[in-house]
Amino acid sequence: MKSPRLTDTTLRDGSHAMRHQFTRQQVREVAQALDKAGVPVLEVSHGDGLSGSSIQYGFSGTNEMELIEEARNAVTQARIAALLLPGIGTRKEMKEAIARGAQVFRIATQCTEADISQQHFGMVKEMGLEAVGFLMMSHMREPGVLAEQALLMEGYGADCVYIVDSAGALLPDGAAARVRALKEALKVQVGFHAHNNLGLALGNTVAAIDAGADQVDGTLRGLGAGAGNAATELIAAALDKLGFDHGLDVFGLLDAAEFIVAPFMAFQPIPDRDSIAIGYAGVYSTFLLHAKRLGQQYGVDPLEILVELGRRKTVAGQEDWILDVTIELAKQKELHEREAGVR
């Protein structure tokens, strides 16, 4: 049975959990191990995509272009992908990434805003490269709306469009329904990208595969934003159990996760209190570390911050609103305490 294609994004989504401090050595070792284990595509970029290095999202420790080149030089069969969010990065950075060895582009928009990606798909297709569309925060819209947006990306030249559960807020039936809607609407492939905030990353990925997903994403040890992603090694094991001819070295991936990635991880992302709040409130997974830092700085519970950001319907990339909300909550808290003191 033909297997869904696995893209490993440890070196992109994992960048969030590493506070964008990946070193060349880490990138080389991870890329070599994934390549050797037969993973066909690996993504390397700042966590927020090309040009994400910023005050808003965090500065990169090492320039992502150097990391892309490092990964490219480390692989024999795997192809290197780069992520781009229109509005953050531009075609200028995409061209440089191509010069450094990127062969696949994943172009991500908020799931209602696909029409800001036309320029970028156009350029990738002009260069004869593979283009994948990412509909972020897909839990915020119903399957039919997502299918309309996916059709726009298909029209711009996408070879595949992903349902991206950026908030880790979907349950398996929601993930499957969204993948199915795209499968029915599109001629091109459909993918699924999971986050583990509700502990469902692997379950949702399996549900997406059942619904016909042609491509899925994973990260070694689940290293990624929020509670992390579906673990690449777990997906490989599951593909095995599901009876797919996946061509992946499952034990090789277990070793890579255990002996290469785990030792350098700053922490193991898990669905803990604040991460679950992200999935529950439906906010962007990358808000986690920013909310923790500001919560501590202003004496506000990160859980309250995250829930309020969900109530305000924030979307991908709105990290600056975390400060905004934290200041407001801190002021409210001070007011309450003062009133309580008076009484």
Partner: protein
């Protein structure tokens, strides 16, 4: 005051009867200053903006730029069409000796931010208004850099999805590039970066901008920076009433590629005046309000030259 000395009006016209052109029309009619709006020129007979002009008793045309060129009394022409159309209009207006205030991304003339550098370009035949995000954030970058050198400034503009027209959507790279360049050239940050985010929430969000400025030096009085920012907010409020900081500027230290630096964070909100466009579209409001301000200052300048012996 100069105002009392200046009698008369300068005739102006608006090219483009879409959302931007129509909102600008309402603004100029509400507050004409030294301008007299002679004509709203579009090309689409079905345009809602042209219908509005007719109902307000303003001359309108579906013949595009030709009737504008045919009236020699029209001195200032606001171009709210598209970058592509402006490339054509620019030469025609220049040859006809008219001043073009360009609201498109074409950027044939110098960038202007009214409270920062309009004076330097008052005699230019063509000035460009950068982007809505640039009009909102560059004044505040400049408010910091006029006190102390800024090594890096970054703006993040979050606008309601409904307020982003096809022009912005199809040219989002140009938005970020142009805004970043404006932060450097006019905001005077050594390096600039711009990020734009579209938020589809319903009801729509008000335009929000966050401005980050990294200071070169640590030995600067924060109060001087706060005072300069407050002053700039007041200056911009004079022509964009809905321009305000949501909270006092935040100062913190950040690790950067150049070491530990002082960071100033400004959380800005822009509420539209609700002239033709809804109030949430602060991004469009600040563009038309800035254009009106540029037109008014240029009109005064033209009248001043007329009274000179």
């Amino acid at each position: 005051m100069m105002d009392r000395l200046l009698d008369g009006k300068v005739k102006v016209a608006i090219l483009g009867s879409g959302n931007i052109g129509s909102d600008l029309m309402v603004k100029i009619l509400r507050e004409p200053g030294h301008m007299e709006l002679s004509l709203l020129a579009g090309i689409d007979p079905q345009s809602e903006g042209l219908a509005r002009a007719r109902s307000l008793g303003i001359n309108s045309t579906t013949q595009g730029i030709d009737p504008v060129l045919a009236d020699p009394e029209i001195r200032i022409v606001f171009d709210a069409t598209s970058a592509q159309a402006h490339l054509r209009h620019e030469k025609m207006l220049r040859d006809a000796g008219r001043i073009a205030v360009d609201l498109t991304p074409a950027a044939r003339g110098p960038y202007v931010i009214p409270p920062v550098n309009l004076g330097e370009h008052i005699d230019e035949p063509n000035v460009n208004l950068i982007t809505c995000g640039g009009q909102a954030t560059i004044p505040l970058v400049y408010a910091v850099s006029r006190v102390t050198p800024v090594s890096y400034a970054e703006m993040v503009s979050t606008i309601a999805s409904q307020s982003a027209g096809p022009g912005t959507r199809q040219n989002i790279d140009e938005f970020t590039d142009t805004t970043a360049r404006g932060i450097e050239v006019i905001g005077k940050a050594q390096q600039g970066k711009a990020i734009i985010i579209l938020n589809p929430a319903d009801p729509p969000i008000l335009m929000r901008n966050t401005i980050y400025a990294l200071l070169e030096s640590d030995s600067v009085d924060h109060q001087d920076i706060v005072d300069s920012i407050d002053k700039m907010i007041n200056t911009v409020q004079a022509y964009v009433p809905g321009y305000r900081l949501k909270n006092a500027p935040v100062f913190e230290h950040r690790e950067t590629p150049d070491g530990r630096k002082t960071l100033v964070v400004m959380l800005l909100e822009v509420t539209g005046a609700g002239d033709y466009l809804p109030k949430f579209a602060g991004n469009l409001d600040i563009m038309t309000a800035s254009a009106r301000q540029v037109g008014e200052v240029m009109a005064q300048h033209i009248l001043e030259q007329r009274v000179k012996p």
